[in-house]
Point group: C2
Chain length 232, copies 2
């Protein structure tokens, strides 16, 4: 088991999170760093999707991963085992991360990268707390918000968790390999996503088989490269 | 589609929710009413488990169901179609219910029952907002808290969402029929539940096939009967 740094996040004392998030986004843009916020229900496969994404983007960006959880540190250990800088963020019971907590995490991630002799990651992935409600209410300062919906959760979830699907311009539909075991209608799911966000980009994937990650990684790489002003 | 009443819950102005919840629990006990709070991640199968439970307890209790959601009303319509009094509670973006919101819901449920010519339900089920974090932090005043963990979510979830599993004396492990599609270790899941709550009663079930609902319904009926001082 890889030793990872566990950061106990301090609750923000900043009153205007929206303003703070805009500032973090501006700072990251100036520092040529791309920040991706991945959200979903508990158990939708965030960590496995992140592992597939790291694999797909290998050699193209300096990556780093922040794993946020109320407790436990197993996810960061899983990521760190691949050699990518990773930190575990503990929210101390809090159901979400805001911009200031992101900043605390990024600082710790930069230190972890330095400890591995690597530069500060130019592509930072946050695995947010597993929750389809609260994380959508707090702007983390990320350049891109992505939500993972998994097949077993049902095709109606975008209708039930409106704000989450309004906030996310990209949607991964994970566990596609489990379709035979569930009554999940992919077209219905896509339509439900588009009720909330007509311009959402939707990627059906399976972190188990790897299906669909090619398209997702290409799209994501182009988004990150555009943000970073980097040639692909 | 059955017409159901949608209640827009008002945010509580009561400062001490713990005290208020204790009061609601006391009132319900005196009025011989049992209140069951069912929590889980989005898409774990709360509504389908409730339908199986209603079926299993048919004719034994006067039942009523409150379906809480941020938006949508499809769950309450599904329950109402069975003829059981049901109301849809909208939390207005809130990620949880507290005791005062429960009280608003129970009042509306009693009206819905009266509209069907039925007495105030003696056995009230709340389907809480799909969220493994926040609902655990707010005592609803329920006599019994139950959490549903579904197989696709993974056997490690009790370790990641400690408070939820500490608060629930009963755990349903749902979607057992999907075991072949996932790497889910039932014994590992049970052990993880017991880390959080050694005395938890655990029921592996499948709302799809009906498997396991006999044992759950018998146990639940005995809990409710004891609370209500009712012979089985």
């Amino acid at each position: 088991m890889k030793d990872v740094k566990i950061i106990e996040l301090k609750e923000s004392i900043i009153e205007d999170n929206d303003k703070d998030a805009a500032q973090l986004r501006k700072d990251m843009k100036e520092e040529k760093r791309f920040y991706l916020n991945i959200m979903s229900s508990p158990g939708s496969g965030k960590t496995s999707c992140i592992l597939r994404t790291l694999e797909g983007l290998k050699g193209r960006f300096e990556m780093g991963v922040m794993e946020a959880d109320i407790d436990a540190s197993v996810d960061a250990e899983t990521v760190a085992a691949t050699g990518i800088p990773a930190v575990q963020l503990h929210t101390g019971g809090m159901c979400h991360l805001d911009a200031d907590m992101s900043r605390q995490g990024i600082r710790a991630l930069d230190e972890a990268a330095a400890g591995l002799g690597r530069p500060a990651p130019e592509f930072v992935i946050l695995e947010n707390v597993g929750n389809l409600v609260c994380p959508a209410e707090f702007d983390t300062g990320a350049a891109l918000n992505t939500v993972i919906l998994s097949v077993p959760e049902g095709d109606d979830k975008p209708l039930k968790y409106p704000l989450m699907f309004e906030q996310c311009s990209a949607v991964l539909i994970n566990k596609m390999d489990s379709m035979p075991a569930f009554d999940f209608d992919l077209e219905k799911a896509k339509a439900a996503v588009r009720v909330r966000r007509p311009d959402a980009v939707i990627f059906p994937v399976s972190a188990r088989t790897g299906e669909g990650f090619g398209a997702w990684c290409e799209w994501l790489a182009s988004q990150a490269a555009a943000w970073l002003g980097k040639e692909q």
